[in-house]
Assembly symmetry: C2
DNA sequence: CCTATAATCGTCCATAGTGGAACGTCCACT
DNA sequence: AGTGGACGTTCCACTATGGACGATTATAGG
């Protein structure tokens, strides 16, 4: 009926804060939900166009730089509310490093561990950033909840990475 | 040049173990790399067709049930080797529960915690399964490495979920 | 004030990934 | 002999990714 996909729903959710252009929505999506729900620019524009067709958002007069803000309609608000009460599905992880690792028999272990080390610094950096945010009182409890996920996740990844040299170099057999 | 996408590369990797049909590849991919790299059936068939066009796999005479096995060619082996030495990119997580959670202000906390509880049991079950595998000596060190990721990950998710009631119910403000 | 540079904004396109419907074949079991 | 389930393929609609291209506006330095 009025069903929207999660990405469209996210845009509707963000539009509750007031009208915004595709670019702005993409940008805020990146900042607020980008760590667990990617929205590309093309996608934002396409979903907005579809939502407009279906009357869930309404294009406003264009501003400078031909910026076209969209405003949430009642129908859009309703569709968002409907989407919100659908039990969320399982997560989906795509981790190229693990894919490479699983074919490790065709590569040398040192190379693998280099890849791991490169990723490690990025994860350490993200953890540091998350922990800064965590100390910041400006976030509400929902943002804090997702932030806490990030912290647990990054810590797990780091712990795992620290374990890898022992596993890979530990034994040459298998 | 001979660049293949990660999914195609995974199929080439699996084909090192001997010729296989699209169905078989999909099935083994699910089992071996499915936890961090999903390959759908349609995708497996499509990538095989593309790889065949490019001469990286070769269709063998069809067997029963019009099963068409593919065999790795030298060119395919080379393409896989090339792919393997490309540093793997960052992971990509799509977690609908976190998306819903980030819009938690429009939902009641009890409902959110119900969603969390439902997911929790699935994660607990996966952790249990992983830990069984971890005790099994039949896995080589590369499989064990990816398995260890799963264990760290599931533990992190569970720890996070156990923290949530305190965060969501702890304070009504923000 | 002027200009280079960066940020904002939109469109378009090729490629990649998801999920399920539809359909046929073969096997095991009753 | 019939039937349910596993195997196997095709096709399709929808969703997502990432980058190219081009235009406009803000802003910072000279």
């Amino acid at each position: 009926m009025n069903d929207v996909n999660p990405t469209a729903a996210a845009l509707l959710g963000l539009l509750h804060a007031g009208e915004a252009t595709g670019y702005q929505l993409w940008d805020t999506a990146r900042e607020f939900i980008g760590d667990f729900w990617t929205v590309t620019r093309s996608q934002a524009y396409r979903e907005l166009a579809r939502l407009a067709e279906r009357g869930m958002v309404q294009a406003q007069p264009t501003r400078a730089r031909s910026a076209r803000p969209y405003r949430l309609t009642d129908s859009g608000r309703a569709a968002f509310a409907e989407w919100l009460v659908v039990p969320p599905g399982p997560e989906n992880i795509r981790y190229p490093l693990l894919l490479t690792l699983s074919f490790g028999q065709f590569l040398d272990d040192d190379r693998l561990l280099e890849y791991v080390a490169e990723h490690r610094s990025a994860h350490a950096e993200r953890l540091r950033r998350y922990q800064e945010f965590d100390a910041d009182p400006m976030f509400d409890k929902y943002q804090r909840s997702t932030l806490r996920f990030g912290i647990h996740y990054e810590r797990a990844v780091l712990a795992w990475m620290d374990e890898l040299p022992g596993i890979l170099r530990g034994s040459d057999d298998d």
